[in-house]
Symmetry: C2
Subunit: 205 residues, 2 copies
């Protein structure tokens, strides 16, 4: 028998899943209504307020989960790079795209709200991405050290890479498997250009 607290958590989960399940290429968080989410979760509209003060509060809880997914993704990519020893760029792109597929609507939310209409959302998503950029920059510096191939402006390199990855990610979400492969190939080439460019600029200095 579930305790009251457990049951409450279940309902909260149902609300968040209901909201996520409504997102799609043609449906942003901003177009959801509280009544719609409650209906989808199987509770009365008024019960919504037992869990969140307003719909945006639920959205921000989802962004937090998106942040967790990003950190998992980064750990996974590191592990694979260390284990497989292949191209770090290729492995990272493959890992990213795999996560994208497995958490489509969570990423959809992050990708949209990053440049969306609500300031709290933009701020929250940017904080998650900033954290991601910082970790990537650290990795880039570490790898550059190990390979004795110095980098110019590692932080900028990381920012540009993340921008490209996220933009292509947004495209990939609604692409066919075939298009997705093309996007991956393009993305890898673009990332390599940035990396090589940064290395070349470092040499010239």
């Amino acid at each position: 028998m579930a305790t009251r607290a457990e049951q409450k958590l279940k309902t909260r989960r149902a609300l968040m899943d209901a909201a996520l399940s409504q997102l799609s290429a043609d449906r942003g968080f901003g177009s959801l209504s509280l009544r719609e989410v409650a209906r989808e979760a199987g509770i009365a509209p008024t019960s919504f307020y037992r869990h969140f003060a307003e719909l945006d509060e639920l959205g921000l809880a989802l962004v937090d989960e998106g942040g967790v997914a990003l950190r998992q993704l980064m750990r996974q990519a590191r592990k694979r790079i260390a284990r497989d020893g292949g191209s770090a760029i290729s492995t990272s792109v493959e890992t990213f795209m795999e996560y994208l597929g497995n958490n489509a609507n969570l990423f959809r939310l992050m990708l949209r709200e990053r440049t969306g209409v609500s300031k709290p959302f933009r701020t929250a998503v940017k904080a998650e991405i900033d954290h991601f950029v910082t970790e990537l920059a650290d990795d880039l510096r570490r790898i550059a050290d190990e390979q004795s191939r110095p980098l110019s402006e590692a932080r900028l390199v990381a920012e540009a890479m993340v921008t490209l990855v996220f933009n292509q990610g947004a495209e990939a979400l609604d692409a066919t498997a075939r298009e997705r492969e093309e996007l991956k190939a393009k993305l890898k080439t673009e990332l390599r250009m940035i990396l090589v460019g940064s290395q070349t600029l470092a040499k010239r200095q």
Copy 2:
């Protein structure tokens, strides 16, 4: 005395300006209502239908104007590069940011709807940007020829550059003058990395 046709054009213009004027960092096209736009333009809600079948039709007309602005921007940048002879990257970034400031809400619309929730909008904006990318790729190839510094994958270079420029542009729209200068500097460095990376890869082949 204005003819009937002239007056109709004026009202249409007022409707489009009214919609544009409502856009901001916290207000996307999707949150506008037909009644609100009509009110702002000074006509009855029902008169709106004399000009557009629905609100989205007005939005797509604005995207067309955004495309015109993009093409002007590109012509202007080319002219300045030819005249001033300085860094093409620097001149282009300066020109872009100037246009951004002068057509803030038009660019806001383009930047948002590029990844927005409405398929017709996404398609229209992507067509404009695709045209922009194609022209940029042509320019890059031409300059590479003139300087005898071959480029690898000019089209990809152009795509990556446009992605970075548009993303930083979205940031710049609501930044202070000081932040905007920093964004410009970062953007120039990032574009240079891509260019140099592409040149280095071309040499290695």
